[in-house]
């Protein structure tokens, strides 16, 4: 009797509400949340040390894309990542993570160095897109992205990509070519922003939630499409609720990927990477 009573009492407790199924548009909001971990939050929580290095050796040091060598447990790696900035001043300086050609060229310069000394590369992708500016065009934004795609396709060192927030089109893709593509649970990755797509195909930017749905931009969708390899879980409510747990999950997934990839020779790695790239959307 007593036992039965207890059971009844327990089940009478307020049931845990089932997790709300987030729409693609909900995830866009989470992915863009200013409190979401930024590149330097990831670096602080994932690396035991980090030395940032600057400049493309041509014209500039782009603050929209950060690069440097760091240590993750016992792995010496090159870190590349978009930098949205944590304060208004930083946002302005880094164009909210919209990199210039100089940023992509800095990334390639240091990736070449990493290749020479067999450092794996870890990239953190979080950008609305490549910067649409006058100088960016004059200095060859298109060429810099194109070169990056060709360059990372043939780079002889393991590359692990983590889509952490917004994977905005070509500006994201330029540092998202690699052997293992990880994506955080609430991140989004798309060929065009939902607003941009809605503006063109719906002729109304307000239709962005519909466009977000149609474009299939969430981690689960992209896993099904074969565009990414693994989804990294986020703490309840999203990465912005608990940076430590979010970063710990990322660290674990990155280390596992590096250890797997280090088993391959450079040539095996390149063949596998090419086969993966070749398989994207091959329905024919």
């Amino acid at each position: 009797m007593a036992c039965k009573k207890t059971t009844t009492k327990a089940s009478a407790k307020k049931p845990v509400a089932p997790a709300k199924t987030l729409t693609a548009w909900d995830k866009v909001q989470i992915a863009r949340d200013a409190k979401r971990p930024h590149i330097f939050d990831f670096i602080a929580n994932v690396c035991s040390d980090f030395e940032e290095l600057h400049g493309d050796r041509l014209v500039n040091d782009d603050r929209g894309l950060v690069a440097g060598f760091g240590t993750i447990d016992d792995e010496k790696v090159l870190i590349l990542g978009h930098n949205k900035g944590a304060t208004i001043e930083e946002n302005m300086e880094s164009n909210f993570g919209m990199a210039n050609p100089d940023g992509y060229r800095k990334a390639m310069r240091l990736a070449k160095l990493a290749e020479r000394f067999h450092n794996p590369i870890v990239t953190f992708v979080d950008t609305p897109g490549a910067y649409p500016g006058r100088e960016a065009e004059e200095r060859g934004q298109a060429e810099a992205i194109a070169k990056s795609l060709e360059f990372f396709s043939g780079l002889k060192t393991p590359v692990v990509v983590v889509i952490t927030g917004e994977g905005g089109s070509g500006g994201a893709l330029a540092i998202a070519v690699g052997d293992k593509i990880l994506m955080m649970e609430n991140a989004v990755y798309s060929v065009i922003s939902p607003e941009g797509c809605a503006g063109i195909l719906w002729r109304d930017g307000k239709m962005a939630p519909q466009a977000a749905e149609a474009l299939k931009i969430t981690a689960d969708d992209l896993l099904k499409l074969g565009a990414i390899d693994e989804v990294v879980a986020e703490p309840a409510g999203g990465a912005h609720k608990n940076h430590k747990t979010a970063c710990a999950n990322v660290k674990k997934a990155v280390l596992k990927a590096i250890k797997e990839l280090k088993k391959f020779s450079a040539d095996e790695l390149l063949e596998a990477r090419y086969a993966k790239i070749r398989s994207y959307g091959n329905f024919y």
Binding site: A130, Y131, P132, G133, R134, A136, E137, E138, R139, G140, Q141, A142, E143, I145, A146, K147, L149, E150, F151, S153, G154, S169, G170, L173, A174, V177, Y189, S190, V191, I192, G196, C197, I200, L201, W202, R203, D204, M207, Q210, A211, A214, L215, K216, I217, L222, L225, A227, Y274, I277, R278, Y280, G281, N282, F283, Y284
Partner: protein, 275 residues
């Protein structure tokens, strides 16, 4: 990223049926004048758009063009639909109207006797957008070019990636770039011809990866759209921004080649490199 389409059922005013307007200098010509001048503006020398077939006829030696990969067409893996309808119907209508099955026509040919793999994009096919079929054709072309030791030449004309095919259209930027990287590693040349317009994801992949990048007078070439840039930087851009001439001045184009000289120029360059 953007691409353009005619609104269905739009009425063509009678004047438009008779007159061709140069999109650059806005001069009016009788349509026959425009056409007889090979779609080049008699006044400002803007080199207008050509269909893929017109272009092939002007570049390939007569009777040498053998089309490949025609069965590689589009894919509606997202079952994409927007306010104006579904992607599948739009692209099927385009296929029916144009007779093409993708935004690039690919084939082997000879150019003044030089063997080549030639790809020509057609802007009238979904704005020349880069779909999974387009990317697959280019990757296969690069691989066949390696096997047959042919230089690769691609005439680009595109608004960018095809958003109806979502993330996998973006991935074609990587696929084409990786395949072209392999072609170069195999010791073969790649010539990119950026014709009007070459923008967005196409400019940010195979269009800018030529061992030489060439173009035609007054072609529009750029990554981001003019309006997007002006809204971002809150400034007016110069009139010649993102033109062939502007890009040549800034060092991203090797040469602006007139249409009448294009075939000979391509042949000559292949000759320089021993092909």
């Amino acid at each position: 990223m953007s691409w353009f389409e005619k609104k269905e059922g739009a009425q063509i005013p009678p004047a438009k049926a008779l007159w061709a307007v140069c999109p650059k200098c806005k001069s009016h010509f009788e349509k026959s004048v425009w056409k007889d001048n090979n779609s080049i503006c008699p006044k400002c020398n803007y080199h207008g758009r050509l269909s893929a077939r017109e272009r092939i006829a002007q570049v390939a030696d007569e009777g040498t063009f053998a089309e490949v990969f025609r069965a590689v067409s589009y894919s509606d893996h997202l079952e994409f639909h927007d306010a104006t309808g579904d992607y599948k119907s739009k692209v099927e209508a385009t296929i029916k109207k144009s007779g093409e099955t993708e935004s690039i026509v690919m084939g082997t040919c000879e150019i003044e006797g030089h063997k080549a793999m030639l790809g020509v994009m057609d802007f009238s096919f979904m704005g020349g957008s880069l779909g999974t079929g387009t990317g697959e054709r280019i990757a296969r072309a690069a691989e066949q070019a390696i096997a047959e030791k042919r230089p690769l030449i691609i005439f680009c004309a595109s608004g960018g990636a095809r958003m109806h095919e979502g993330i996998l259209s973006l991935m074609q930027m990587t696929k084409t770039s990786a395949a072209i990287g392999r072609l170069k590693d195999a010791g073969l040349p790649y010539i990119a011809v950026c014709t009007d317009p070459t923008t967005g994801g196409v400019s940010a992949s195979f269009a800018m990866l030529g061992d030489i990048n060439i173009t035609e007078p007054k072609a529009l070439i750029g990554f981001a759209g003019r309006r997007v840039i002006e809204n971002t930087i809150k400034q007016k851009l110069p009139a010649d921004f993102q033109t062939a001439e502007y890009l040549e001045k800034h060092g991203f184009i090797d040469k602006i080649v007139e249409r009448k000289d294009m075939k000979h120029f391509l042949a000559k360059m292949m000759g320089f490199w021993g092909f």
